[in-house]
Amino acid sequence: MTALTRPARPNSAGDAALRPVPWRRMAGVSWRQHRIALAGAAVLLGALAVWLWIMGTPLHHAYAAAIACHPASSAACQGSIANFNQSVENHFMGSKGTGGVLLQVVPALIGAFVGAPVLARELETGTFRYAWTQGFGRWRWALAKLVALALVLAAATAAFGALVSWYYQPYLGTGNPALGLNENSPFGDLFSLREVTFPAWTVASFATAALAGMLIRRVVPAIVATLAAYAGLAFATAGLLREHYLTPLVTSSVSPPGTAWIISQWSTLDGRFAFAGNPPTSIFNQLGPCLAAGNGKPLAGGFPQQLAQCLAQHGYTQWTSYQPASRLWPFQWIEGGWLLALSALLIAATIWLVHRRAA
């Protein structure tokens, strides 16, 4: 066998002014290494987008027909309003809808499946000994890869979040109680699937997975750990944290806005605290006649509002603390902001570990 003679090595005088390999070259590298995971995420989002589009189009038509109808009291209009409300029922929408719950796992899955292999695969297969000894440099390699992938995921999931918002628009809607259309708070489970929060949760999952991969050094356990951490963070945020982003408003109105997110309710009697939430049995019994009287003619707000009115008749003042629907965007940016800050911290920690890791 003959060995090929290579041309002479370029002059090494340029060593003093050693310019680093350009950052942009990592784009093609990241694509070649992660195209299967990215394609998987694209297929998942694409399929869900088509599904939302197919499901959402008739719903938007039904909504448009219901609100454009004049006069609203006519039989035809009542029909189209009932038709829309029925469409909403038939869809999975609403905070208790299974579809809405299923969508919650999408950011977690995408982030975990794209993020975990970035470092864990290298460490698992030994290819880090190739990747980290190239001229690009290893912390730059980690930074370029993680940031590029995070940006791609953020862009794709922000677009998907916009589609989710469009889909839920008739439901959250403009809510038009005068027409008998349901009103709903934008702070349900859907809150984390909007334009800002969907990419923020996805990137947080991605950053968690990258760090977990660096620490655990195996892909599958890193994915499992990420999903567990994500679930804990998501439940804690929805259940404990989110309501405190801004101080809730407090009203003594018997009918707080239908789009409000009710945080808590309590009643006072003569300016003194009486009870929290629903009245105790003893007070309930006092209200009996009042509640019975209202049975024949239910109010628009249903039982809660009727109860509030009966309490008012007996001298109680019912207080409600709530987050108004107008705070949707401040809340979106607050949640998106801290999630992105957390992601940046996790990515920085990962890069630092890559930089100082002793194999």
């Binding site: 066998m1 290579r6 050693l18 590298v29 070649r32 000894t133 190239q134 001229g135 690009f136 440099g137």
Partner: protein
């Protein structure tokens, strides 16, 4: 210039020292062999030299005083790790793309011609290549970077005799024609006989012997590198066998 310079270099994993008080100067323009039984610290010394591992004690510089693992060091060193790790699900041409993108210099015509000569198809996935072809691919990618120092960790351990011969021929050609300094570790002594002109003997994490092969043979009155190494290793580590 010394391609590798270590002073008081040590690496500890937990309570065990994989390498201790290693002081060493490997001059440029040599094919230096790092010899020793399994667990002697060969891989540790190489990993320290290419910056994959941080020292627990002492310091190591490469290519005339550059900190191991620094950008200037990475630029001038090509490393082929043990078992030649490649991305198994990427094609040969993807591997060329990656190596080209990740380095300031990459001689694409050389890489293509060489792979063509070796009969390695560009569209084949790296994981589908034979062991010998994977080793040749890793070596070709390393040489196409035009390194000043080529570091090879147990490059031929997994190869059959023909692949072993071909691999070493490529390494020697690069050293002879292009002046690439080579540092390779091996526990296959017979293979080193033909190629090495500088020897570093390691056992139990310490350097036992280092110098030009000719000088060492003369000084110790041995006929071959293999005999020298075996004699020396038997003296220092009774458990070593061929």
């Amino acid at each position: 210039m010394n391609v590798v310079e270590a002073s008081g270099l040590g690496k500890r994993y937990g309570r065990t020292w994989a390498l201790r008080e290693c002081t060493l100067e490997i001059p440029a323009g040599r094919v230096a062999a790092l010899v020793g039984p399994n667990g002697a610290g060969k891989s540790t010394l190489l990993n320290l030299s290419v910056g994959l591992t941080a020292p627990s004690a002492g310091a190591v510089t490469v290519l005339g005083g550059r900190r191991a693992g620094s950008p200037a060091a990475l630029d001038g060193i090509a490393f082929v790790a043990q078992d030649t790790p490649l991305y198994k699900n990427l094609t040969v041409s993807d591997m060329i793309y990656l190596t080209r993108a990740l380095n300031r210099r990459f001689d694409q015509p050389y890489a293509r011609t060489r792979l063509d000569e070796l009969g390695i198809p560009l569209k084949r996935k790296a994981g589908k290549l034979s062991g010998g072809q994977q080793a040749q691919l890793a070596l070709t990618l390393a040489l196409a970077r035009h390194p000043r120092l080529l570091v090879l960790d147990e490059p031929v351990a997994m190869l059959d005799p023909v692949a072993r011969h071909d691999f070493m021929a490529t390494v020697l050609a690069a050293a002879a024609d292009d002046g690439v300094s080579v540092l390779l570790s091996s526990h296959v002594l017979t293979e080193l006989e033909r190629v090495a002109d500088y020897l570093v003997l390691l056992s139990l994490g310490q350097v036992r012997l280092a110098g030009k092969v000719g000088d060492l043979l003369a000084a110790h009155g041995q006929a071959s590198l293999e005999e020298l190494a075996l004699t020396y290793l038997r003296e220092t580590t009774p458990e070593v066998t061929r």
